[in-house]
């Protein structure tokens, strides 16, 4: 397999509020443990997005930075070019909404996204969704249950060419009431899960690596602590507080 991996962390100055930097750290660590030569580029929002990355990660953020990020990503165009080159993109919360067709910005207006995922986001009427989440990931992906922490007001509706990433057993996920959480297509993934989500679900990180490297399997890794954390969080989510 190709021995190098170019990891791009998009706009940490705007979209890195909820520890989502952890997703970049987890992918980087797990790639290095598999002997890959990883280069990680953190791109600030006044810099151009490189188009030659293998995996792009986008985190969550507050409402105004989300609008600023969408404006700058649209103007820059680099992420959309990378996507059309087949790059893998993994996004969380505010970043997930930005990858869709549109979302509601901090001014209460409809803000265009990048249209890389067939989803449209609105703002929920009810209470903010805050708390631990447990779900079952789309069986096509062959991954164990999803665990994470959600903290959002957004509601995301999936169009026909997006598949739900998971169905929640506990928690709200996309907030549409149909039990879906997140969305994905062949190369672009979105989720409301923090935690950070790849620290809670390291096999999703491995899935991204496999897609980027175009391989079916990766060398085994020692996942003892991840497994212990997952077991604890899944038990905590299923037990009454």
């Amino acid at each position: 397999m190709n021995n190098s991996l170019r990891l791009v962390w998009v706009y940490p100055d705007l979209l890195s509020t909820y520890g989502d930097q952890g997703n970049a750290l987890v992918v980087e660590r797990r790639a290095r443990q598999r002997g890959l030569d990883v280069s990680r580029v953190d791109v600030r929002s006044d810099q151009p997005i490189p188009t030659s990355g293998d995996i792009y990660l986008i985190g969550g953020g507050e409402d105004r930075p989300q609008r600023l990020a969408a404006e700058r990503l649209r103007r820059d165009g680099g992420l959309s070019r990378a996507a059309s080159n087949g790059a893998i993109i993994f996004s969380v919360c505010a970043g997930y909404q930005i990858l869709g067709h549109e979302f509601i910005n901090d001014l209460g207006e409809r803000e265009p996204g990048l249209g890389l995922l067939d989803v449209v986001s609105t703002r929920g009427e009810g209470a903010r969704c805050v708390g631990d989440v447990l779900g079952d990931i789309d069986p096509n992906l062959g991954l164990p249950p999803l665990t994470g922490f959600e903290n959002h007001q957004g509601v995301t509706h999936l169009g026909p060419s997006a598949r739900p990433l998971a169905r929640v057993r506990l928690g709200r996920g996309n907030g549409t009431g149909d039990g879906t959480e997140g969305a994905y297509n062949d190369t672009v993934f979105g989720t409301y899960m923090h935690g950070p989500v790849l620290a809670r679900n390291p096999l999703i990180a491995d899935h991204l690596l496999k897609l980027a490297l175009d391989v079916n399997a990766l060398p085994p890794s020692d996942d003892r602590w991840y497994e212990a954390l997952r077991a604890e969080r899944i038990a905590a989510a299923t037990q009454p507080a």
């Binding site: 509020t17 930097q21 922490f149 620290a199 954390l229």
Partner: protein, 412 residues
């Protein structure tokens, strides 16, 4: 200056008495100091009590994400040079706790009050302070708190009509944004190691440029104001350019910054920096923080760190390797139930230290440290962690309720 000329009304007196009785009952029931319940009872009987109690005092408010309890103590010590002080020294920093603290200081001249960030604008309205000290703002408990920039915005709106002198940190763009709507600001270059909540301009959203210690927005011109006070190494520089040595028992750069802001506050009341700084030396430990306690034959230094900015400042003050470090993290209500913030803390700074991990969320920490490439041991109890470390100093860093658990275990 305030004088004790207007006595409390009968209603206010009754409220104070009822509050003290409720506090005494709460203490007798073994439910803490009773200051919060006492304040609640008193405020129910007289909703304006806080304002009435404050009328008789020169009030100083202190708010920040980190360092507010310590700075409140430092200011209180400094101002005792000028007169008696009443203060919510135990950190009960919401209106009920503040009311209760003030009710206990009927002959004080100064009220030095720590205020929770969310309540600052309201308490400032109720107490008409002479000085408000604003130290720093950064991400903290995002699962239940307001967004950080929104908090700065609320401070800005709430303080715009205040007649108080605002003593504010010029090195924190969010603090400068919050303070700069006020007509009377004393800028203090107190430093701010954590920068990740102020990369976008609080005024226009432009990308902040941060060459060296300076900062400015390239788009709208919002920039660091020229400070009149500064922390410079181990010295406070006053507005005349004189350098005064800082001697503290409290460790770390952040406490030198707190001392600098405190000296600037004391100067507003005519206490010279030399006198203020000498008095600050008295402060040894603040609600257990920084205390060194003997436990199982080791010396444990207890350090509280509640959020990424706090952990960053704490890492900079611990003894170098091979001093062992115990880390304890909980995620109960008072801590915030989301542990994602662990990933905003740069644990690679602990390379070379033997690390022991405990607390309700030790497994979150374990994964965090594993991904950082650090060696660590996961322990069930403090005793187990301490017994694995050699005799000598151990640095113990914990977040809020984990810290309270540790204090109980070591009998502090």
């Amino acid at each position: 200056m305030a004088g004790n000329t207007e006595p409390l009304s009968p209603r206010a007196k009754l409220a104070v008495t009822a509050g003290k009785a409720a506090a005494a009952v709460s203490r007798a029931a073994g439910r803490g100091s009773g200051s919060v319940i006492g304040g609640r009872v008193a405020l129910k009987l007289d909703p304006d009590l806080l304002g009435r109690l404050a009328q008789h005092l020169d009030v100083i408010l202190v708010s920040a994400t980190n360092g507010k309890t310590t700075t409140t103590r430092l200011i209180a010590e400094a101002l005792r040079a000028a007169g008696p002080v009443v203060s919510n020294a135990l950190g009960a920093n919401m209106p009920a706790g503040i009311t209760s603290a003030l009710a206990g200081g009927s002959d004080a001249r100064y009220g030095v009050i720590e205020v929770d960030e969310k309540y600052l604008a309201g308490v400032a309205r109720d107490t008409t302070p002479k000085v408000i000290a604003l130290l720093n703002l950064s991400r903290d408990q995002l699962d239940r708190a307001a967004e950080t920039r929104m908090l700065a915005e609320k401070w800005r709106e709430g303080l715009s009509g205040s007649k108080a002198v605002i003593v504010a940190n010029a090195d924190d763009p969010l603090i400068v944004w919050a303070a700069s709507s006020s007509p009377n600001v004393v800028w203090v270059a107190a430093g701010q190691a954590w920068k990740d909540d102020a990369w976008s301009c609080p005024s226009c959203g432009g990308v902040m440029q941060r060459p060296g210690d300076d900062w400015f927005c390239g788009e709208c011109g919002f920039r660091r104001p020229a400070p009149s006070w500064a922390l410079n190494g181990d010295y406070v520089l006053d507005p005349h350019g004189s350098a005064w040595p800082i001697h503290l028992q409290l460790p770390g750069r952040a406490n030198k910054a707190n001392a600098t802001s405190s000296a600037a506050v004391a100067a507003v009341f005519g206490v010279p920096p030399q006198v203020a700084l000498e008095r600050m030396y008295q402060v040894q430990a603040v609600a257990g923080r920084y205390d060194v306690v003997s436990f199982l034959g080791r010396e444990l230094r207890l350090l509280l760190a509640k959020n990424p900015a706090g952990w960053l400042e704490t890492f900079s003050l611990i003894d170098p390797p091979p001093t062992p470090v115990i880390l304890s993290v909980n995620a109960r209500g008072a801590d915030g139930t989301d542990t994602s913030w662990l990933w905003d803390v740069d644990y690679t700074q602990l390379y070379g230290h033997p690390i022991f991990v405990l607390g309700d969320r030790k497994l979150d920490l374990a994964v965090r440290l594993e991904v950082a490439g650090l060696d660590f041991r996961v322990c069930e109890t403090l005793d187990e962690a301490v017994q694995m470390a050699p005799p000598g100093r151990i640095e113990v860093i914990a977040n809020y309720t984990a810290f309270q658990d540790l204090r109980r275990r070591v009998g502090n």
